[in-house]
């Protein structure tokens, strides 16, 4: 499952990094994190970025730079179909049919 490998790893590593920030890593976890950091220069970059408070605050600012309201309008317009009420006639027919069926059932059971 190569598809999910990224997400699984990302979840675990994010967890390790958060524990690192809170200084809650066990020696074993610390080892895992160290291994990951030394695996690739981009890993180290992210680690440094999270460790610098100035950079962390900058990145949080970037995280919040999205216009959430505007995007929500666009997304909900495209993804949530408006569900209009069925017209009055249709609703009336539904109730009338239901009524007739119920009356028939009552009559049929009464006869027996």
């Amino acid at each position: 499952m190569d598809e999910d490998a990224h997400v699984t790893d990302a979840n675990q590593l994010a967890e390790l990094l958060l524990k690192h920030l809170r200084q809650e890593l066990t020696p074993e976890e610390q080892k895992k994190l160290d291994n990951w950091i030394s695996e690739h220069p981009t890993h180290k970059q992210i680690f440094d970025r999270i460790n610098s408070e100035e950079q962390l605050l900058n990145d949080l600012q970037l995280l919040n730079q999205v216009n959430l309201d505007a995007w929500w309008q666009k997304i909900s317009r495209q993804a949530i179909p408006a569900t209009p009420k069925p017209p009055l006639v249709k609703r009336l027919i539904f109730w009338i049919v239901l009524f007739i069926v119920l009356v028939m059932i009552i009559l049929l059971t009464a006869r027996q």
Binding site: A10, L17, L21, V66
Partner: protein, 199 residues
């Protein structure tokens, strides 16, 4: 105001297609998804477009998701694939050195790094979101909106001196240790004591 649901309720409402549940999941994941996409394609507008498309796909399949981690995985995977497609497409148009490097060597590491980064930020943001309203407001004005003491004092109708004192202390606290457990509650306590804010 962000919608607050217990996870179970949120999931069942989401499956039913409730727009409130959609919005709650949106608030939960959209900022970090955008951050991830923007960093990966190195283009803000394109990244936000891609993240929005992924989100529409999630909502269109709302009845198929049973857990929040499933939704998150779907969002990241869909976004990652779209970003890589976009980079491949761009590579054919104009070959920029950076994109080429990303695609040829270490695409996996880049994807993973940005995903991890986005997730860490989402969690930190979540912690900040847990702060009481007033405390969060001041924190965000100072650090996200980079407002001056004057502006904050006017906006919140408190004295400039109070803002200065708070800011100095907040900066000090954040410098020493932003995320050590308990710091945010210290910050909170400090805001409470200094202002008598009703939390």
């Amino acid at each position: 105001m962000k919608q607050q649901f217990p996870d179970k309720v949120l999931l069942s409402e989401f499956k039913k297609g409730s727009s409130h549940a959609f919005k709650a999941v949106y608030n939960l994941y959209f900022p970090s998804l955008c951050f991830f996409a923007k960093r990966l394609v190195d283009n803000d507008a394109e990244g936000e477009d891609i993240a929005a498309d992924s989100f529409i796909k999630l909502l269109n399949r709302h009845e198929f998701f049973d857990t929040l981690p499933n939704m998150k995985a779907f969002l990241y995977i869909t976004t990652r694939n779209a970003c890589l497609n976009y980079l491949r497409f761009m590579q054919k148009q104009v070959t920029t050195k950076k994109d080429l490097a990303l695609l040829q060597s270490g695409a996996d590491e880049h994807v993973l790094s940005h995903m991890v980064h986005a997730e860490v930020l989402r969690e930190v943001e979540h912690e900040i979101e847990q702060l009481p309203q007033r405390c969060k407001e001041i924190f965000k004005l100072i650090y996200y909106e980079r407002k001056s003491a004057d502006e904050i004092a006017k906006q919140l109708d408190i004295s400039i001196n109070t803002v200065w004192v708070q800011r100095a202390k907040a900066i000090q606290l954040i410098r020493t240790n932003l995320l050590k457990k308990g710091l945010l509650s210290t910050l909170m306590l400090f805001f409470t004591m200094n202002n008598g804010f009703k939390m």
